[in-house]
Structures are given as C-alpha cells and as structure tokens.
C-alpha cells in the first residue's frame, strides 16, 4: 500500500471514529473520575448532588471554550455538535501534529539519520 493511500485511509477511519462512533461511546464516568466520585451521590446528569468526595475539589476548567467537553456550545443539536466537534478535533490534531513534525524534520541540528 502506498504511503499516501495509507494516510488517507487512516485519516478517514479517524474521522469516522471521532465524528460517528464516538456518539455511541459510554457516557459513564471514567476510571479516574469514578474513583474520585466515590462517596458522593450523583444525579441523572452526572452532577454531584450530595455526599463528600475528592471530585468536589475539582475546579471549573480554566478555559472552557466553544468546544468544551467535545461538544459545540453554539450548535443546537447535541448529536450534531458532538459529531462536528470530533471531526474538527481530528482535523486540528492532524494539522497541528503534521506541522510540528514537519518543522522538527526540517529543523537544524545533527542529522545522523539513515534517511
């Protein structure tokens, strides 16, 4: 398989995972969060409703932003917003990582690679 084809297929798979499959991911608290929530009761929305637990010390996120929690706060539909946030995220990460690695590959410094 050619590298360009391999990258194209891989990118499409990542987009489908983040923009589609992720909508069906488990919404239960994850491993760290569930342990931190031990001792608290939570309501149906996952917010702490009583008790005492370590998670109560967690602050609001410092930035938040329009893509906070893998949604789009300005899109009415939660499903559409979540899907778009995943797609935007994959494209952003692909662009940022490829750009940074390209700079790194071209940058100065010893090149004793077997390129």
């Amino acid at each position: 398989m050619k590298t360009s084809r391999f990258v194209l297929i891989g990118a499409l798979v990542a987009l489908v995972l983040a923009g589609g499959v992720a909508l069906f991911a488990s919404s239960s608290p994850d491993g760290l969060e569930s342990v931190m929530l031990d001792g608290c009761e939570t309501g149906a929305d996952g917010e702490i409703s009583g008790g005492a637990c370590t998670a109560q010390k967690a602050g609001e996120h410092e930035i938040g932003g329009p893509l906070a929690d893998y949604g789009m706060s300005f899109v009415g539909s939660e499903t559409l917003g979540g899907s778009l946030a995943g797609i935007v995220g994959v494209l952003l990460v692909l662009g940022i990582a490829t750009g940074l690695f390209r700079l790194l590959a071209r940058g100065p410094g010893p090149r004793n690679g077997e390129a």
Binding site: S4, V7, L17, S27, D69, G71, L94, T98
Partner: protein, 233 residues
C-alpha cells in the same frame, strides 16, 4: 460527554506539585524532541501526524469496563509500537495539549501531570515491554500481538501509578483513604489496560500486515510468517 480516563482536572492536585511535574514534563518532552529529530525523516511526518490524529479519535471512544465505569485508550502503546518512544511521546503530548487547551479535557494547571502520566510514562513503559517481549517471543504475528497487548496493560497501569504518586504528594482524598483510592485506581486501570491491549494489538498487527516498514518496533523486519510477499511502496 464526560471527562476522559486519567485526565486530571484542575484542583485535584496542589499547585506546587503541578508546577514541579510541569517542569518534569517540559524536560522530558524536550529530550524527546531531541531524540525524535535524529530519527525523523520527512517521509515519516504524515504518518506521525496520522498516528496523533488517530489517538485523539480513539481517546473519544469510552468503553464500559465495569458497572457505571468507563475507560478509553491512552495511546502510549500504539505510539510506541508504531513510532518508537521519542516520537511517540510527542504524539501523545500533542493530543493532551489540544484536549486541555481546546476541549476543556484535563486541567490546564494539570497539563504537566497529564503529560508525565499519559505521554511520558505510558509510552516509555510500553516501549520497554514491547522491546523485551519481541526479543523473547520473536517477531512473529503471535509475538507482536502478545508484546503489544502486554505493553498496553503495563502502560495504562504505569500511567495510573504516576497519578497515584502525584496524588500522594499533592492531593488530598476526601471521604476515603489513600489506600482505598490506590486500590480502586489500580484495579479499574487493569481493566482499561486490557481494553487498550485488545484495540492496540489489533491496530498494530493490521499495520504490520499492510506495511511492516511502518512499525518501528519491528525495526525494519517483516513479521515472520509464510505469507505471500507484500508490496513495499
């Protein structure tokens, strides 16, 4: 969607500890930049970018591990197997940085903690296990599968252990003892590691069959199998 496994929010670990681990993260990532630059030629760039995007996507896929508890891939084992430890750390670091700065996933003040656990510790632990296991088992399909699976479990548990060290230094459990937290974190992350192992082994073996030259851990060898000769583009 909820926060994701092992992403520490701000406030859980004290600021001095967070800053100290921020410095440690910066030093480790800097060393990886230097190491990765030596092995990075331009042909690898799109593949490293793709691996990073793939890890970002995979981290969105929380799978259930117990009643009411989920987990997701961390990606250190995948990055280590495909790209090696130096470049692998950089991939996961980019993912964690984007998550903290744009997706409110993991505190900004906890960025150093999260990079140390999920990028540095998990990737290096995974690479150590893969290299050792391939030496013992040989570069066969079974050997690669077992090596990557074991590396995934070890990498997730090692990352969780990193969190526990940080929590022990700079955190304060409420309503439960540190021992109880450690036991709960440890057991749930063994389960998450098994999930990560299944996904990562499948992904790495798939790449190894299509393009063995793109699996860093194989060091240029194709996996030993009486399979038909595959094209190398």
């Amino acid at each position: 969607m909820p926060d994701l496994a092992l992403h520490i929010p701000n406030g859980i670990i004290g600021i001095p500890t967070s800053l100290a681990f921020g410095l440690a993260a910066a030093l480790a990532v800097g060393a990886c930049v230097a190491a990765a630059r030596r092995g990075l030629d331009e042909r690898l760039v799109p593949l490293a970018g793709l691996a990073t995007a793939f890890i970002f996507a995979a981290q969105m896929l929380n799978f259930p591990v117990a009643a009411g508890v989920s987990g997701h891939l961390l990606g250190g084992a995948l990055a280590a197997a495909l790209l090696g430890p130096g470049l692998g750390v950089l991939c996961v670091t980019v993912v964690i940085g984007v998550q903290a700065l744009l997706f409110a996933d993991g505190g900004v003040s906890a960025l150093g903690l999260n990079v140390v656990n999920m990028a540095v510790i998990s990737t290096f632990a995974a690479y150590g296990v893969i290299a050792l296991a391939l030496k013992l088992l040989g570069r066969t399909r079974v050997g690669l599968t077992v090596a990557v699976f074991a590396a995934s479990v070890v990498s997730v548990v090692a990352a969780a252990a990193g969190f526990l060290v940080e929590f022990w230094i700079g955190g304060e459990p409420i309503g439960q003892s540190f021992g109880a937290v450690a036991a709960a974190i440890g057991s749930v992350h063994v389960l998450i590691g098994i999930g990560e192992g299944v996904i990562t082994a499948a992904a790495v073996v798939a790449v190894a069959l299509a393009r063995p030259d793109l699996v860093y851990a194989l060091k240029g060898a194709r996996i030993a199998e009486p399979a038909a000769v595959k094209e190398i583009a």
